[in-house]
């Protein structure tokens, strides 16, 4: 006689009381495939944990965003935020789609050049540019966004020895009605710092003022904040036109659009509550079109959104290492992807699904990563099927920041694969090996042997 299928035993205490506001349980379907490729096969072929990126999703989300803005505003230009994900394969998809590069360090600047980006289409932001980097960017006619007065004066000095006049904008910080107000970058609007800096640039005669830039914050849940920002930048542009008869080429509203991830502590899922590209586009376009700019003289609108463009395209395939019970009887499951790979789990309730069919039984689970560190918790509480060691899980919306802020901490970092539009997988970053780490170390002679 054939033996019966086994599922590990499970008992659930029924909680009495008022029914939940939303009645039915929310149990997402298993994610057996990503872009047509079986999760189990990906894990078997490339290892677990594994980062997976979907080229199809990257292009699709970018096109949605571009369409939202270009159908409302005549001159729209996206610039890919390198710090959000600077894997060359990712950057080049955005560049193929028409994005410029937005970089915040010499390293990122060099990476954009190496990717083949036209230097004139590189926006150089950030608070820590060196003299050498400013000279290189000036000679390359890149767009330099000035963060503080020391940089402004340094750039005026650099201009003396450069082949070209620096093409610049200033970063403006401002009160847009949201909290916290980011004021550590750029020049303040309300107290007159920004207008003062613009006057210095215009009077210096050494710099070509091309535009104005702001970046009001991150994961901004209010589209209207961007309308406030656009209106304030438009006012600065009007003052420049009145006083200096100077017309700006562009207004750069930076990034900060929320992705569809759910912030910790949120009552409703981000997919239902976060503003859409259409919401942001409507707020920004309306503010600029309703400002003083004459029809036909609207400046180019530059957008540096990163998170909202790439989050959805990233997945982590992870495997169950072990199940255990906490002292309270609570279920805990250890998986092979922790906060070393998933930095964003500190502020997101990432959606996590199983990669194989299960029964209808679920248990409230604390999901821990593999690090021997108490902070390594991916989800404090998540309703999951009865998992067994070796089962695969898929962590969703991991494309933003995790592949730039991940840590080589305790474990070596895994491979990253990208599934192209034809459904074929490509390794776009190899896994680390011991040599990747120890190769950079130098051992002084007297420490080369551990025999005393």
């Amino acid at each position: 006689m054939e033996k019966q299928k086994y599922e590990r035993p499970h008992i659930l205490r029924l909680e009495t009381g008022m029914p939940g506001k939303f009645g039915m349980r929310n149990e997402p379907a298993p994610t057996t495939h990503i872009d047509g490729m079986a999760v189990s096969e990906l894990a078997e072929k490339y290892g677990s944990p594994l980062f997976v990126l979907s080229e199809k999703t990257i292009r699709s989300v970018y096109r949605q965003a571009y369409k939202a803005f270009s159908t409302r505003y005549p001159k729209v230009q996206f610039a890919w935020s390198y710090k959000t994900n600077y894997l060359s394969a990712v950057c080049n998809i955005f560049h193929q789609e028409g994005s410029w590069a937005e970089v915040v360090s010499g390293f990122e600047y060099d990476k954009a050049l190496a990717n083949g980006v036209d230097p004139k289409k590189i926006i150089f932001n950030g608070p820590a540019k060196t003299r050498e980097e400013l000279l290189l960017a000036t000679n390359n006619e890149s767009l330099i966004h000035i963060d503080h007065l020391d940089e402004l004066y340094l750039l005026i000095e650099v201009a003396e020895h450069a082949d070209h006049r620096p093409r610049v904008a200033i970063r403006v910080n401002m009160d847009t009605g949201i909290y916290p107000m980011w004021d550590r970058f750029g020049f303040n609007y309300e107290n007159g710092q920004a207008w003062d800096a613009l006057n210095k640039i215009m009077h210096s005669g050494k710099l070509d003022l091309m535009g104005l830039h702001t970046h009001i914050g991150t994961f901004i849940m209010s589209a209207n904040a961007y309308a406030v920002a656009a209106t304030k930048l438009a006012e600065l542009a009007r003052l420049l036109q009145v006083k200096f008869n100077h017309k700006l080429k562009y207004i750069d509203l930076g990034g900060g659009f929320a992705s569809k991830n759910t912030l910790k502590g949120s009552y409703l899922p981000g997919s239902d509550t976060n503003p859409s590209f259409n919401d942001y586009a409507e707020a920004i376009s309306s503010a600029l079109i309703n400002s003083h700019f004459a029809p036909g003289e609207l400046p180019m609108l530059i957008l540096e959104t990163g998170r909202a463009l790439i989050d959805e395209a990233g997945y982590i395939i992870s495997s169950v290492i072990a199940n255990k019970r906490m002292s309270t009887g609570r279920r805990a499951t250890i998986i092979d992807a922790g906060v070393n790979l998933l930095f964003t789990s500190f502020w997101y309730q990432h959606s996590i699904t199983v990669a194989q069919g299960t029964s209808q039984y679920r248990e409230d689970t604390s999901l821990y990563g593999p690090l021997c560190m108490n902070i390594d918790c991916i989800r404090d509480s998540i309703n999951l099927p009865l998992l067994n060691p070796g089962d695969h899980l898929v962590i969703h919306q991991t494309g933003a920041y995790n592949l730039t802020q991940w840590m080589q901490f305790i474990h070596l970092r895994p491979k990253v694969v990208m599934i192209d539009e034809m459904g074929d997988a490509h390794i776009v970053r190899e896994n680390e090996e011991m040599e990747s780490i120890t190769g950079l170390e130098k051992l002084p002679g007297h420490l080369s042997s551990i025999k005393a």
Partner: protein, 82 residues
Amino acid sequence: MKINPNLAVSESGFLFNPGTGESFTVNPTGAEIIRLLREGLSLEQVIDAFTEQFQVDRHTFEKDLHDFSGILKTYNLLEKDE
């Protein structure tokens, strides 16, 4: 290990403890373990019965049974002297 004899267990996996008023659901595997324990089988005999009847190896089931009996104890579903 003995199950609290006062528990009411339905065939569909619904479990009621009249001593505390608490209700539970168990999956079919859990219900089968409880049924065998109520019949008076020892843990070793439960393991033998399961590995005979289900697609599971001895180590995996022993580990799962250990976990399950621990949670039965946490929920006060065992006899008091257990």
